[in-house]
Structure formats: structure tokens, C-alpha cells
Symmetry: C2
Subunit: 227 residues, 2 copies
Amino acid sequence: MPLLLHYPLDPFSRRMRLALAEYGIAFELGEERPWAPTAALIACNPAATVPVYVEDGGAAVSGIEAMTEYLEETRSERLKLIPGSAAQRAEVRRLAGWFDTKFYAEVSEPVITEKIIRRFMPRETGGGAPDMTRVRYGISRLRDHLDYIGTLADHRSWLAGEDLSIADLAAAAHLSVIDYLGDIPWTEYPVVKAWYQRIKSRPSFRPLLADHVRGMSPPPHYTDLDF
Amino acid sequence: MPLLLHYPLDPFSRRMRLALAEYGIAFELGEERPWAPTAALIACNPAATVPVYVEDGGAAVSGIEAMTEYLEETRSERLKLIPGSAAQRAEVRRLAGWFDTKFYAEVSEPVITEKIIRRFMPRETGGGAPDMTRVRYGISRLRDHLDYIGTLADHRSWLAGEDLSIADLAAAAHLSVIDYLGDIPWTEYPVVKAWYQRIKSRPSFRPLLADHVRGMSPPPHYTDLDF
């Protein structure tokens, strides 16, 4: 069975768990801590980042775009996650890139680093209390992104067009980690909430709702499909 | 004729210029300044980043992976830049992602922001003298990447395997900007230098060697194919 090296509250790992489940691929999970990569992780991925997809035979694929395109090329018989014409596929990839680059830099990276990673890192390598200036910056930028998702979801069935795509999974994966931390003002963004409810109700999302990181409980609405 | 909105010393723009030339696509250039995006750029790309590829009919493609895959899907009759089996294509994309994410964050972003962008930005939006701590950090991390490129180039004809690929263009594009600034210790990395000489000698590279940014002259070896 293929193996996914991951961290439960890493948005890129979550996107791959969603994609694998949507494709209908059975897989095992191997947990890594991004702040203390194991020798096994580094052997599979010299960049020492999660996630890494390890095929049955042991061949490892790393890098979020590389994994995404690899699975679409080899395992998308049942469902395409980069669907449509070349132009529509470009729109899917533009939006996936938006979340993985822009949303990550502006929101996920500061919020997750300060609230999760620095909590578990040893003090001598940078662990400690969160820098709340960086957290507040991330949460303030989150509002621009919620506006943008709302604009997209208001005009389209799914974020990149009429079909579910990796763009929805990328956006939902990033938002789901921020939601675990209780930092999304859902009531102010009803259109975004309606789109997210549709993703959250999919069977692929269930394992993410069951995640529980020691010492960090999500708010009650995190697992609620009618939040 | 298609149009590429770009900035001459932006590594992502340079990668697209190289790719377009390798595919044999004639195109026009429209210059943008990343620190002051025009309304035309924002209309084509809400993320307000360069490069953006604008088709003859006006359809715009943005996002580095989206553009790369779009051109490979629509214009690679003559040459594939993501060649080979699914596994080989994953290796090409892993390495392109390495340079666009890891090399960018550790080297290009600090060095280019401090030495180029802050030089031209108005003082009130963050312009001014470079923060040399960030420049020194970037240059020190550059050495790890030169080691890694050397390891790859020592065992393979090109960085991702036996064929030239977008991984070589991504790496060369990032290095070429640092080289314009005179910050690459070539004599210490003969294997990397030999690989770079091969890329630099390709016709696709010539326009990059002719770039000249006002007030910032490259070192004499920048244009020399026998540096």
C-alpha cells in the first residue's frame, strides 16, 4: 500500500490526504514532525519537507506540484482533479498556486509557525511563546483571502470552475488548519462558509476532522458539519 | 503575438523567457516593476506578480506552475521541457519546485529584495539601503544550493536526468539574477560552472545576457560565455 509521510496540521499534507481519498487510493500514513525531520524523511526528500508520497515499490515523490501532477497522470481514472481544457487546467493550477504560495506566505506560514510549530520546537532551535504580531498579521491578511474566495464561490460552482478541483482541496486544506485553531470568522463570510460546508461534508474530509494534536484541542465547531 | 509581462531581474520571468525561447515561441515583452504593479498587470493577474503570459486573443495565464504546464500542454511539439515517464516528470517538477520555493525563500528573495527591489522602491513603502544581514544570510545559503546542484550535475547530463528540462531553466534563471549581482563564487564550484556554461551558451539565454537595469551594471563576466 502507498505511504504518505505527513504532519496532521500541515496544509500541504492535508491537501494530499484529500486528493488521495478523492482519487480512491488506499494509503497508510506515517507521521513526521516538520521541525525535526527524521532520517527516513530526508532520504525520501532532500528538502526535508512533508508530505512525501511513497509508492508500494519504494519510489518517493515529493514537492507539492510534483505529487499533484504525478497522481493526476497515473491515478485519475475515476476522477480528474485538474479537469477541463488547457485554459481551465491553467485556472485550476493558478488557484492551487495562489493558496500554496500567497495564502501560505501571508497566512498559513506565520499563523502555523507561531501557534503550532514554535509550541513544539525545543527552545534552543526557536521554540517558545508565539510572536503575536506575526499571528495578528496573518489573521488580518486572512480577510483578503476570504473576500477573494467569496468572489470566486459567488460566480462558480467550485473555486476554479464548474467542477471540484485541486484548487478547492488546496484552499480547504489551508483553511482547515486555521479553523482547527479557531481563527476563521465564518459568520462574516456566508458564501465562503457555504462552499466550505460542501467540501467539509465530503467523505474525503472525514479523517481530517478526526485529527487531534496532543495538547491542542480544536474548537467544538471544527468537527461540526453544520457549524 | 503573445505577450509576456515581466521584470528583467525577476527569476520567474527569466525562466519563462527561457522556456518560450526553447519552445520556439515568438513573443513580445512588456516590462512591469514588481514593487509598483500597473492596473494592466492586476487585471491579468489578481496576485499582481510577474510573469504573466498573455495569448494573442487576450487570455492571460499566471502562476509559474500554471504557465509552465499550460505551455507544455499546448506548445511542446518541438521540444518537451517536462520529458520522460511519470516518475521522470515528477523529478523534473520536484526540482523546479525546489528552486521556486526553497532556493527562492533562502536565496533569491532576500538577495533580490535587498539589493534590487529596495533600491527602486520609494522610501515610504520600504525602500532604502539594503539590510546586509539578510543579504549575507542569502549568500551563505547559496553555498548549500551550489553543493546540491553540483551533486546533481555530477551524476546526470542535466539536473533532472538525461534531458534538458524546466528544472535546468528554473535553476539557471535564479542563479542568473544572483550572477548579475556578482555574488556567485564560480571558481569554487567547477561542476556547477560547467553545467551553467552549457545553459548560458544556448540561444535562449542570449536575451538575458543583454538585460541592463538602469544604475546597476553586471560584472564583466556576466555576459562572457567563457567566464
